[in-house]
Amino acid sequence: MNTLIKLEITRTLRNKKFMFFSVVYPAGLFLVIAGPQGDSVVSGTGGLTMGAFYMVAMASFGALTAVLMGNSERIAKEREKGWVRQLRLTALPGRGYVLAKIASAAVVSLPSIIVVFLVAVAIKHVHLAAWQWLALTGVIWAGSLCFAALGVAIGYLANGDAVRPITMIIYFGLSILGGLWLPTTSYPQWLQDITTWLPTHAYAGLGQAIELGGAPHGRDVAIIVGYFLVFAAGAAWLYRKDTRKA
């Protein structure tokens, strides 16, 4: 099992395109969006500056990219090619494959979070207390598990050709509507009412609460845990369904 996780990480690190999109791209996007803006406060965030707001948004976005895109497409393709079947002929327990996927995605998501933080500190001079940095990293990292489960579910739901468009729609939909690319306060009120229920909105909310010096809001935690349970249950159900038809 450890060898499988190690191998999953090795091959992900070898995949330059994927590493670019999950590690360099969010940090680059942070520079493009937050770079030219002054230190004005983003309205409706309780006093976060542009730099601080986008730092959490892009770190969350990077982690989301790493865990969602990696898992869904890989799993769908490997199911189609028969690698999943081959693994079932080994002594690896059935859940081992999925757990290895989630574990390796979690390893890759960590650098994508940290690179955004480093860029934010260096270029936008974001200042936070030591505990805040640690808490931010921990919370964004842990929260990404919710989307890792979603990625697994999509991987078992869709097949080879369909998986990319489906992942893209969900990925961009959740990112934009959830306020990872721009503050949802700029959306019309009816849309804002919807977006507060999205997992990505709650995800960014976790980090923003810490930046403001407090603990994450109970509502955000509840939403993200709720989605995690739904996605994990869906993934488990789809996985079992797939196993039955081999």
Partner: protein, 307 residues
Amino acid sequence: MKTTAPPATAVASFADVSKAYGRVRAVDGLTLDLHPGETVALLGPNGAGKSSTLDLLLGLRTPDSGRISVFGKSPQAAIAAGHVGAMLQSGGLMEGVRVREIVGLACDLHPKPYPVDEVMDRAGIAQIADRMVDKLSGGQEQRVRFALATAGAADLIVLDEPTTGMDVTARQAFWSTMREQAGQGRAVLFATHYLEEADAIADRVLVLHKGRLLADGTAAEIKAKAGARRIAFDLECEIDEAALRGLPFLASLSLSGTTVRIQSHDADATVHALYGLGCYPRNLEVSGLGLEQAFVAITEAEEARTS
């Protein structure tokens, strides 16, 4: 050809196993035992249920009825215990890794692994150990699959069309490795559509047709079961076709020019009666059917019986 008396303990057994997909009965009341040290070929036309049978044996599918046990356990438990090594046609490989890494993974996952280098040597992939898995030819991929199936000390090796995509040399090397494995007391079960492979390698041949077991025996027994031996001769006198068709134990008869070809259930009796016809046969040849013809004869007879 060795004839093995069935030992008391079966490696794997199917007891009245059936599996249907919708209306299609892929496996229909299959009962059979595999024994240690046996090399068994599974033959059948496309759609005969070969792959379904292997899937059931490996626990990739569950039967609708009947019981399958492998080393006295469920197929899944037997695989988890490392009793079974399998190579499937549909088994894909992990992409983005090197040959050595994927073989290393298989060894690591096996409860009783062999050293990685030994496994690669045996599969003939030591020279391509550092190649990326995605850049292999069909034959090389097949050998990597074989390495995955033999990464540890399994007691039953299951192979689905193992030599597809291999050239003649690779195929020979493959089977000599397989014979070694069987020589160490392992059971080997392989599905193939190369009948000469079954004839040359298997101690026992199973013929499947529409999910049912039509024949189970040595290649020689299967050939005998198909009935038949071939008799060919030339006639220089006037050919009396009606008299020829009246010969005993005739399965079929064909005439081309002065040459007569007969398939007979009892060649000795047919030839004896032939001399009684008063026309002297020249260039008389009596030969057995190849496994291929026997196979065709058995499945055709079954088609005729069921339709």
